[in-house]
Symmetry: C2
Subunit: 241 residues, 2 copies
């Protein structure tokens, strides 16, 4: 398999493979990104910040506050608690009106089951809220999964911007962040993986292009969880256990 005896530089983790896996939720495990883009577009419109869909798409998955700040800055809209609440309300109503269907990405359920079978600890992260994540976990058949939400990053007692989902998830899994593989559909997931010294695995099923994920530091880019399940050995997952 992919185990090697190389120990030079920062690659020693490859010798045994990542010890744990941190997986992004929206776009990576469930096929909800495009719904959310349309819903956020309506929500930003409602607060007077008309935004093109592609810019929203490319910002989804940033930490919650950065997402709103980056997108409203150009539109010159001041954001306070009232505006944030309104954004969230219109977004949620739009998702609800569209049927709010949450569908698992191909192979997502099977990938999680295989990690469990292999004894590889795993956690799910989302920049969104616990309330929206619940139905997704149910669809994935893992209602009791270890989940780290954007809520928690925002409520972190100090230096909240410096902490991020990967670091918190690794702490919960009781592994070093650099011992994790991070699976995500957005450049933000892969940049977070890089900051943590983790192995980043990009999936195309959130709608980014392959080269965008490559450039953000992905060690591998695959179509979706089903493709990753077939290539777990390539990123050393399961090799450590």
């Amino acid at each position: 398999m992919s185990t090697t005896t190389t120990t030079a530089g920062g690659r020693e983790r490859w010798a045994v493979g990542p010890e744990a896996v941190v997986l992004d939720l929206d776009g990576t495990l469930v096929d909800t990104v495009y719904q959310h883009v349309v819903a956020w577009q309506e929500a930003f419109g409602a607060i007077g910040a008309a935004l093109p869909a592609w810019r929203i798409h490319r910002r989804i998955g940033m930490s919650g506050s950065a997402f709103v700040e980056e997108l409203t800055r150009d539109a010159g809209v001041d954001v306070d608690e009232t505006v944030l609440r309104r954004l969230s309300e219109v977004h949620d109503a739009a998702v609800h009106r569209s049927g709010g269907q949450v569908v698992a990405q191909r192979g997502a359920r099977e990938l999680l089951a295989e990690l469990t079978r292999l004894g590889v600890p795993w956690a799910i992260t989302t920049s969104g809220t616990l309330r929206l994540a619940g139905p997704a976990l149910a669809v994935l058949g893992v209602p009791d999964a270890l989940l780290v939400c954007g809520d928690e990053v925002r409520r972190a007692p100090r230096a909240p911007r410096a902490l991020d989902l990967v670091v918190i998830a690794a702490a919960r899994l009781r592994v070093r962040p650099s011992s994790c593989a991070v699976v995500g559909d957005s450049v933000w997931d892969l940049l977070a993986a890089g900051r943590a010294g983790a192995v980043g695995v990009g999936v195309l099923c959130g709608g980014y292009g392959r080269e965008e994920l490559d450039r953000a530091g992905a060690a591998r880019v695959v179509d979706d969880p089903a493709a990753l399940l077939e290539r777990l050995g390539e990123v050393g997952i399961g090799a450590a256990t």
Copy 2:
């Protein structure tokens, strides 16, 4: 400006710049791609072909029949006239239910006005139907624009697959296809430009990544019509007139 005296190989068109401009509609001039992705996903689901959103996104803009054939092939769904009608009905109803808002991309109206001011002939193409294109042309302020629809390609008397929107649009504009610049958000637009020997200009506002458009042969990739308007000289548009 960008005019050159190079006449070697196929680059002689750059000496004077493209004589005419063919612009894609959905994703390029109006911000409707993400709405359509969600609506098509619902429609394919209704005919028993559950498809991930990203695969629909990356197929939008193919000629109508290829779009449906490629997407249903993997799902193993047989497509006949009844199924096609059902697809179209569910898609249209979903667009309608979501408000069916058509918003111009940034700078789209201004770009068309500038082409007119410069005396550069232009046409708009869409792989969709005349019925859906009408409201978009109204939003762009060009209800009487020269428009070539997917309908026309499908109804073409012979070799319909070999003809495509760019070739038909060039004929209507009374220029050679190779004398056109083709502006589009999808790899299909740029591949069509390449087949026609035209200058391809990619825009990111349909949600593709920059490198995807580069690799499909774009001479330039810009954010959106507003950015193209600022850089018309770079692709020689306006230089011929």
